[in-house]
Symmetry: C2
Subunit: 343 residues, 2 copies
């Protein structure tokens, strides 16, 4: 566990300044104080809380999502949430869950018996046992990428998929692409539904033909690409929008393996901006989710729900990151290659 000295070394400031930051002294700047607090959380510093504050505990449940290493999707979300909660004097416990865990433990009971005032849940799937219980939970809860109809205790937080996919299609249209395919993610995912709807609306807006053979839904994993990309290429796709960065990596891998060059022959664009997407070959153009901000904002929503402000939906803005996997379409359309294999 990091000590005050470790934090001081990391930031190159004195121990007494770190101490002031941690204890809310008024003679250091607000910016510095926040930096000290953020760094303390990131380095795993924790302090004994006073008796009075001991009951202020929040739970962060994680399923279907990596978060422990800095290159994982969930890392910055978890970190942002903990940073903001810490700043407002809450303790956060991270608990990884599975469908089996959910079958064994009732949601409300689990929170109550462990003294949590509320929870933030990452990665729950639509068919998970707790989804049903969340319809009637009385515990303030923020769901990442999931929506519960009609329960004022549950808020939905995500990145605006509609705006993100629109940005992706607009970017490709501006590069002259007219044959744009969509490699989307899982059928049991709210965001995949939203991205599907957004894609269809965007291609309609830009008067691009809606070709069912150029849209596919696999899973949010790289392998899905192999099953669907051959058909996209047969149909003459010059660009492929992907439901997330892992799918985009699968698309690039497959296209490269059969002799297509990225971006000369095919432009590929991802979604999420997972850390590794900056260093793939070529570096991936993608729609970034503001993950640290999502985590920070999740705290604000949860705090509001605890204060009986019934937040229903909150969406953050995505951002287009242009790297090297998209380029202007070739003037002549690419003839379908001979070497296509279809699984």
């Amino acid at each position: 566990m990091a000590t005050i000295k470790d934090i001081a070394n990391q930031l190159g400031i004195s121990i007494s300044t770190v101490s002031k930051g941690l204890n809310g002294a008024s003679d250091i700047s607000e910016d510095l104080r926040q930096l000290v607090l953020d760094t303390a959380v990131e380095m795993g510093y924790s302090t004994k809380r006073s008796k009075k504050e001991e009951f202020r505990k929040l739970c962060l449940f994680v399923e279907n999502m990596e978060y422990e290493t800095i290159d994982s999707f969930g890392y910055e979300i978890v970190l942002g949430f903990k940073q903001n909660a810490f700043r407002h004097k809450w303790d956060v416990t991270v608990v990884t869950i599975s469908p089996e865990f959910q079958k064994k433990e009732r949601y409300d009971t689990y929170l109550l018996k462990n003294g949590y005032c509320g929870a933030f849940i990452l990665g729950l799937a639509l068919q998970d046992p707790w989804m049903e219980q969340l319809k009637t939970t009385t515990m303030p809860t923020v769901l990442f990428d999931n929506f519960i109809d009609g329960n004022p205790n549950v808020g939905y937080l995500g990145t605006d998929s509609y705006e993100g996919i629109h940005m992706a299609v607009e970017h490709l249209v501006n590069l002259g692409h007219k044959k744009i395919a969509f490699m989307n993610g899982s059928l049991y995912s709210l965001v995949a539904d939203q991205r599907q709807e957004a894609f269809e609306a965007a291609i309609k807006e830009y008067h691009i033909e809606c070709n069912k053979n150029m849209m596919a839904r696999g899973y949010f994993v790289a392998d899905s690409a192999h099953y669907h990309v051959p058909e996209f290429l047969e149909e003459g796709a010059t660009a492929i929008v992907c439901g997330n960065d892992l799918l985009a990596q699968g698309v690039i891998e497959y296209c490269t393996s059969i002799g297509y060059r990225i971006p000369e022959d095919i432009s590929v664009i991802g979604f999420d901006n997972i850390p590794v997407s900056a260093t793939t070959e070529p570096p991936l153009t993608t729609i970034a989710q503001p993950r640290n901000e999502l985590g920070k904002y999740a705290y604000f929503i949860l705090n509001s729900l605890i204060l009986h402000i019934a937040i229903s939906k909150s969406l953050l803005r995505p951002q287009l990151l242009e790297r090297k996997s998209t380029a202007r379409v070739k003037i002549t359309e690419i003839p379908p290659k001979e070497s296509k294999k279809k699984k």
Copy 2:
């Protein structure tokens, strides 16, 4: 202007306790401190801020909306915003604006020259001059009921119209209604668009015929009802969903004037829960917007935007308030009356 003594009298507590609440002393409870602060704002108390804090100013622009009296739609929104801002040591100035004002003053320039760090805007219309400038503003801005595409500095806040209209239709369907009309508001309003879409989706979900003669868009004022309700009645409507409470009042007034009884002959349901809707004859069943919470939450969003968390959309939950203007449908359908007049 209210003094500390006035606040003490209002709450029935000592002057020293009020003083502790205003100055953040640690020996009173957090709940009491918040009550003191909320009451201070509501009573118009203001204090001199220190030099250091003087730059922390927010602006609240209001157009097309009453907010000064307790029975007006905007009162609780403005109050909630000021209460939360005050609690976090911001000064708030309320400025009423018109299209002329917007033509004269550039948005960003106005905020900068007056030293505002950000703004919350109520009641802007889609065709207003500032709507164009908001597409590129660099000032953190929260818009009530308006959305700006693609600008990370502008967040949209509202009540979930979709969920609200769904609740209204579900309530009527549960009362046995099958012929449900929709008296919607202005054509130049984002929320009226959303409520229209929501109504069409809801009646589809409940297998109710989508009859174009049973859907109308007027303005968000009572008079609009007179132009459209006669046709609803001709078509045999047994219930009318209204885009807001003012329209619902117009509908009730018109129906009553031609001899229909509310709710025996026609059920009417509003949207907003403006204060007067509890005391109309009959008291109005309506979909409540949580106005104080909307104001409070607007502050959280604005603060997040100032901290560079790019909130795109935030929706709060509506609530169905069952009063006396809706009832179970009569078993025999009502024959159209003779006395209908159509303007």
